[in-house]
Symmetry: none
Subunit: 213 residues, 4 copies
DNA sequence: AATGAATGAGTATTCATTCAT
DNA sequence: AATGAATGAATACTCATTCAT
């Protein structure tokens, strides 16, 4: 009933152990207006991060660009980190929605290939944003707050199909994610635009890895 | 001749075309004491980053831990970023010194294996430091200031020996570095300590990659 | 007849000559529901002040705990101060209702003793609340808004009976109130729980004071 | 060696139990300049509290009035509360320095009388300041940070001389302090200026209390 | 060369209050 | 009458950097 329930990320959850935040369809603002506000704030954060980098990424600027008061921002996000986390989650969700199509592929190999392609696609769309968010996601403070379960689950499942005999799929999933992130961010940093080539090299690394572990 | 020559990274160099800082003999112990001071400041930065994370990493704290006045710190480093860059360079140098031994190996494969082992070793020694520096190194502001040439050259050469027929060694070098960094940082984040296992998986990814590109 | 009449403390009254608020019949349960709402808000304020202290005492929190919207709170109280004042008045009223029994005592001494006992009782019941409200009541902004007349009248009357020959009863009343408040709050701060002892010391101070003035 | 050592009130000491801060001649800024700065900040705080009340009492305003940057304020005071505490301590020290003269009196009674006179004097000099500081001192957050030991010790000693046979001097000291504070603040609130009269009534209460406990 | 006191722009965050629905 | 989303002025506090001594 109180405004607190709409807060995207509770204070409690920011400290202490993950606590497995209710990954359930988290209570999103009920009234249309609020929902819009939240969305506009997150998108504003994305745009600022994209165009100004970390330097310009402060809550007041985000609120301004969102056309919202700073108070509204804090109505929905208990702090700056919560906003960052929300943005990361939005991006991950979008990636997930695309990547999940991989599961419709017949073969495990095709599924994994789709996954890699999706990763490359995502990177090339908003390269700076993707990169900076990866950076943020690695920050000790934020790690543990981000909803990775679904995404990791997806990788796990795809790898299970692509490498059924692999003995440690969780390790493999973590490694594959790490490889993708490493290569794709590095490509972004270097300004690569040839997603064809990047995709191929990524396949080389990932399939090579799987073939040898 | 003046004190300015001791500045690790000039302001000018932070903007504009970076690369190749003043190629002066670099060693030239202008004054033993100054060299010591610089070293102690850099080590203080390392320790703080390791123990307090980004949160505690500010110039005043670094100076205090180094047992030096904040004024002195700015005598040697024109700014915080310059200090960060100096620390990154120190770490890269140390890694380079170890990794360069790879070149003494007979076979290209052995050389590359040595390289990978060195990367894992480094990560496991000061995991937090290594990770945070990788993060910093990726920051748009710092990229371009860091001396990567030597290190990249080393990778290039080792790859040349390990995969003589590879057509785009520079791309391969960048990719391999990205794979290593991705996997090794990820392992660090997850608190992995079994460097044996990590090394094997790293080899799988890198050799797999090379075999397929 | 309008909603305004329910406002506990008009803005106008906060500035300008306070004293004697609109002497309207004060009771007149305009609407049972409204009265309940007001009561629940005041009690919520009391609970928060008691459990969270000044830190947690903000209008939104009060409304939330009262199970009422923030808008409703402002429907009945023109501002935070008005709410605080209403709470103080409620507590004073309760104290008054108990303390007024003093007037039924035969002797003036007994009456005064009853008064002191009542004061101690009140303090020991909700020590933190009593103390914080005393603090608030002393705030320049609020002084003058609180209904002290009745209470002071009571003290005046009791003192008149206890020390009939006293020449300046109003001064004595103020002093006695000050002594009680000082000692009782101090005891609360120090966590005293032995109300027997406190009562005795209080009597010593007050009767001593009266005997010598 | 670091700036931290000059901080008037360490962070650690603000949380957790009193910890009996080194009541020793606390490390005051060593260089003359710093000492002046600290003094000017505290005096600025006093003036603002006196003239603007709590409303205008914010760190930026204090710094401005002190003719000092906000950064300097925080160089010496880790937070607003620390500044408040420092001001309270300064005032208590001043009061102590005056009140300690009581110990030079021959009789215990005369000593106590001197103490009461000093308390009244102090109140009448800067009434608003004295009152507001008493209010602040009672705030749960600040209590325990203020150096009361000396002052309480003084009261203890004076009472020992004035009422040698009293069995619980510590309780008596606390009560007497409470009585003084209560009456004197109340007088201040009511705008009393006749310190003669106030002094007499104070004596009545205190000596009356002592005679009966 | 060294010191460390001083600076102040910058930023996160709170909370009383308003008002469209 | 009630709701609660929205507001934004106010404020505590940080930290990179400068410069007088």
């Amino acid at each position: 009933m109180g405004a607190d329930d709409q807060r995207i990320l509770g204070e409690a959850s920011l400290r202490g152990h993950p606590k497995h935040k209710p990954t359930r369809p988290r209570r999103v603002p009920l009234q249309g207006r609020a929902e819009e506000t939240v969305a506009s704030i997150i998108e504003a954060a994305a745009q600022i991060l994209e165009k100004e980098g970390f330097a310009g990424f402060n809550t007041n600027a985000v609120a301004r660009r969102a056309g919202v008061s700073i108070g509204s921002l804090y109505q929905y996000f208990p702090g700056k980190d919560a906003l960052t986390v929300a943005l990361i989650n939005r991006e991950n969700k979008r990636f997930y929605d695309d990547a999940a199509i991989a599961l419709t592929r017949r073969s495990g190999r095709a599924a994994l290939e789709y996954l890699l392609a999706a990763a490359v696609r995502r990177q090339l769309q908003r390269p700076m944003l993707a990169r900076l968010l990866d950076l943020e996601e690695a920050r000790p403070t934020l790690r543990g707050e981000v909803e990775k379960d679904e995404l990791e689950g997806l990788f796990h499942e795809v790898l299970r199909r692509a490498a059924p005999k692999h003995e440690r799929l969780d390790v493999a999933a973590a490694d594959v994610i790490a490889i993708i992130r490493g290569m794709v961010d590095s490509a972004g940093e270097r300004g690569e635009t040839d997603l064809q080539s990047l995709e191929e090299r990524l396949r080389a690394a990932v399939f090579g890895y799987l073939a040898r572990t």
